[in-house]
Symmetry: C3
Subunit: 503 residues, 3 copies
């Protein structure tokens, strides 16, 4: 992996020499030996980016090595790859191990003091030791969050209507094409940018002049990021660098990064649920680091991870839920982001989906699911049972059945309330009060259309999340049924006024 | 309580035999002996619902028994009932103790492996040991939250306008009657459902076929739940099963379950108050389990419970506030949920309240309190003094007086801003732009009416909460005075346009 | 400082005598000796306001004295004043030390059992020991938050339009002048009130009749409070009485008190950022009390204080950022509160600022900065570099550059989106659909004007905070770009309807 020792500038050797004693000490109290390359990284970066180094020192990666880690087997295993390269086995997982991994596949690889370093660590890199998780994640809708957004003509148009600067002249609004900085800061912040190498740049640094690649869409840690090695996603979206603490991934704040807004208020709903209350009140006494995670003992109420992701066992060691980085294998319904809730798509890549009307949507405009792209009732039933097994570990069957009956009723009623809004919108189009599908115009750029969007994207979503996770007011006054019904009144009122005025 | 040992199926005996050693061990390090019945419950449920069992093991209920608990007397007492049945005294408070209690009064009692078990544990059950708290709670408005909502014709109509699915046809919206699943998931989630037994059902379980009651409105933990034993409320609303930790009840997340939305943003206001800041920053060092609760020592800033509920003493052991599950004995004013803030109602049962206009409201439509149903100024003064005694434990009298002067001024000005909105609405009705009281039409189903609702239900409420609890922006830009004044402009604008159009 | 021992009433001597033994004990385990005056305060206040006393006992002020504290020097120093009065050196910093300090300058000084006590402790008082911090804070915009608001004719009018009670008569809204209680409870809650002495009042207390000053604008802890000693600000805004814990000031909840609403959602943005996630998940393991604060060791992600205020060092002891109570020396841009984002003002006192149109604004109505009042590009560059040095302690230069490029692009695009809204408003004024600048009417009191206000005060602000601090959805659907673009549609729609109706 070391490409060219000779280019290493003398001043650096000096630096390394001076503080190399220190480099070893950066791992105090840890049994793991650092690879020579990582020692060299740290010798400079302890001064250049001290925060990263200190943070990493607190990680499990710094404190063990793959050979040691492989001794934990079965449910306790932290590594899922059968074959980990021999040369990695006896060293801590340090800077060099990840940032030079797969260097030949990384278009962002550059020569850095003689090392073939890349900036962007990817799921492909992580899969060296965590192959099953990487594989599962590739089947998770999230890993396709970039392409599913930008390659969908309808959603691409939606993002333009939100991100493009608008100007006003002669009573008309014009929407400028969105710029890449805004897109990266807006939708793609969570969905992930496309990180590409467009050239290189020379910079003066504390250690002399150095050359770095110029990257588009950087920085970014979105779940569906397109990486310079061709892979999709970012493990750091949930496993924050450089501690990569399982404690963080299991706490709800991680999910809140992208799942708190009005379009997907999962974290807020969780916060006011009984589960969230127990978490907030008592989690100081829980053990967030144990693998597997024992319910009732390590934790007494589920976090997001517990229901959607984690390997959970009971005190007898019986598996309640297998670990899943695919996540949707516990989810029969897709309840947000689209016009209508519907059964989960079969494939995580949604770019081929098209309804009868030719729109890239998994339902018709009137709500019927486009069945060939969506899981069937058998698969839905199976996923529901997988999730319910977790519920049943703490709740009786009548409790669980009652809860799910309400949730599925809410899917039905919120879809109906969206359909009503759609009919009002269609009448506005038909009357010429706005321009839509028939006029081949954007669905997202007029006042009445934006009210319609809020019906499904905010209010129906919020109501469904509240119903799914027992969020009380998020199904009523906080963007819930109150807003669904008020919006119908407001849309109808809009229609009445505009019809009266244009008479 | 054991009805019929003989129906116990052999397979269960086997199970019990196999893991009965374990059953005893489920209480490790705890002095309390389990009753034979509870041992039997656990012998199966350790496998069937391991989370509940493990959670309960962490509870005080599992770790002591009433005889031991009664040794703590005076302010330290955890039990308020004089007479606790002899048979309960020497056992931990386990599954059987609560779930077979008052079995003859519970319409949800069913035969479960020979035991007369009921699903829904109620305030009546809890009153066996905690009679004073149950009594106080019965005088708390919350315990009547179900009946006060559904038996009020005006509020019933309001809930229909929110929960009913709406359809749009020929320019008209029709509101369908709300369905029971939606109601349970919406308003009644917090207000409480009516839990009734409608039959029984046989289910295949891991332990063979079993029969369970079919319950309406289940699951539910709303504060005003109508229970199958005739009692009202749910202690689990605040004392989460099955740890029943006083720590939780004293932390603000419990109150947030129902008091965070725009209609009652108490938790959000608290969060940005100085009190909330101190809590969030320093509560890790507080003792949430001590009874009584010593201010300045166990905690250095009040939580919701401290001001509204808890038994508080100072370091000298002097009582600053008596424990109160009635809560409104510390509250002179009722500041949310109704059109105008007003003195607290005398009775917790509000079903008889009627104003001069015949509406089931504690104020006239123009704001005057309907005095015969509300506490007088003497009682208001007494309650204010009770609350202020808590304030004065940390603040000087000029601080406290200044604070209350502002709060009571806010009650006045927010009522005035609501009256202004009411006048605009009445003009809209008078002009025939909407249909209201005079037309015997719903007050809650038209666009202008919904704006009026937000004036009092969201904006006036938020402003008052902010004023009561020092919430800064919740009295200004976050649904506060900004919204109160903007809404007046918007309502007037609505009126102007509609009058112009219909000319 | 003791003015008149002889007026001390006998009953008090008795009290003091009885519990004076206790007074010494109120400082258990602390080495610091109490001054005789503070002992006397506590002798009564231990009973009169036990919460304050107990809270103070937990403070560093109670546990050390200035002479001891001065032994910590260099980066570890907690005191910045060279000359601390000799008489203070050997006593704990107790009641008397602060509440009688500068008694001759305090118009709120009153005779309290023979002591010249004042109620309102001010930055002038704190500067006795913390002079550098007080000086820096005087150059912080926040310390001028009161005067900058109430002495700006435009913003004064804005506050009136929000705080004044509105009445509706003959299709017209009238705004009453705002009352002082409302102002204190609204804008001035955070900006600070003017605390003035208007007389004195005699009160019956547990210790007999006593006389106290009557204060306007009390209580208040706003950052820009006008104090009765002529100073500006309140240290207690961030350093909560009476523990004055640095832990609190370093945690984000302190900033949230004033920076959470839609006008300045810094706390909410932080909460969903990666930084906020790491904080929420892992801060239980951090050390919030160490001075200086070592990044990567004491904390592994910045809080508000870390980036904006704190003295930060790396593990080698190198200073990453100097302590700053001025704060804006790390801020090149002012991104909220005004119509357009712009370079920071030169002076913290903004009362002289005037644009070409004669409006008290730092930009023209079309967005151009009024350069003579604002820092130049050199100073902006310097401040940016100061902030970036903190970023670079954990992030590479391409990361940091990429982040800042996006942030500055967002400043540009949000200003453009505000300009578009301004043009729509100006057309409404020109068409006579609303009355504004040309008509010498308020800019803040009509429906279309309030929509315009939300464009910059809520949506542009939120988008910029999100961009500055990586807040994901706060730049998109949660008051971000979605709202910026929807508002343009709504404003244009408003214009169309009103033009059609008035044709």
């Amino acid at each position: 992996m070391r490409k060219n020792d000779l280019v290493l500038v003398p001043v650096l050797w000096l630096t390394i020499f001076t503080i190399s004693g220190h480099a070893t000490e950066t791992n105090p109290g840890n049994s793991a030996t650092l690879s020579p390359a990582t020692e060299e990284c740290i010798s400079c970066h302890i001064a250049v980016s001290p925060g990263i180094v200190a943070d990493w020192e607190k990680s499990r990666h710094a404190q063990t090595n793959p050979r040691e880690a492989k001794k934990q087997t079965g449910l306790e295993s932290k590594l899922s790859s059968d074959k980990i390269p021999e040369k990695l086995l006896d060293y801590a997982v340090g800077c060099s191990e990840c940032h030079t991994m797969n260097f030949d596949k990384h278009r962002d690889t550059f020569d850095h003091n003689g090392y073939a370093v890349h900036v962007v660590v990817t799921p492909l890199d992580c899969s060296t030791c965590h192959s099953i998780e990487a594989k599962q994640f590739s089947e998770n809708l999230m890993s396709h969050a970039h392409v599913n957004l930008v390659r969908n003509s309808l959603y691409k148009d939606f993002t333009e209507s939100v991100n493009g600067v608008q100007t006003f002249e002669d009573m008309k609004i014009s929407v400028q094409p969105s710029d890449s900085e805004t897109n990266a800061d807006s939708c793609l912040f969570c969905h992930g940018t496309a990180v590409e190498v467009t050239g290189s740049v020379s910079k003066d640094t504390d250690l002399g002049e150095m050359t770095f690649p110029i990257l588009t869409g950087w920085p970014n840690q979105g779940v569906g990021r397109l990486n310079p090695d061709g892979s999709q996603g970012s493990c750091a979206a949930c496993h924050a660098r450089h501690q990569f603490s399982i404690e963080m991934a299991r706490k709800p704040y991680t999910c809140a990064e992208c799942h708190k807004g009005p379009d997907v208020p999962a974290y807020k709903v969780y916060g006011v649920s009984k589960h969230g209350n127990i978490y907030s009140s008592l989690n100081k006494d829980w053990d967030f680091k144990r693998v597997p995670w024992t319910l009732g003992k390590d934790f007494t109420s589920p976090t997001c991870a517990a229901c959607h992701l984690s390997l959970i066992v009971d005190e007898e060691g019986q598996v309640v839920a297998e670990r899943s980085h695919q996540m949707n294998d516990r989810l029969p319904w897709r309840i947000f982001g689209l016009i209508y809730a519907h059964p989960h798509p079969i494939s995580a890549d949604l770019t081929d989906i098209k309804n009868k009307e030719g729109l890239p949507l998994p339902t018709e405009f009137s709500g019927q699911p486009v069945k060939q792209f969506l899981i069937g009732t058998d698969e839905q039933f199976k996923r529901k049972k997988t999730m319910q097994k977790i519920c049943l570990a703490c709740h009786g069957s009548s409790w669980v059945d009652g809860h799910w009956a309400r949730f599925e009723n809410t899917i039905k009623t919120t879809n109906e309330m969206t359909l009503t809004a759609t009919k009002i919108l269609e009448l506005a189009w038909a009357k010429g009060l706005a321009k839509g599908l028939a006029q081949n115009d954007s669905l997202f750029n007029e006042s009445i259309e934006k009210k319609w969007i809020e019906q499904w994207l905010f209010f129906a979503n919020s109501t469904r999340f509240s119903s799914a996770m027992c969020g009380g007011d998020y199904g009523v006054f906080e963007n819930g049924r109150w807003s669904l019904s008020k919006n119908i009144s407001d849309m109808t009122n809009w229609l009445e006024i505009h019809m009266a005025v244009t008479k």
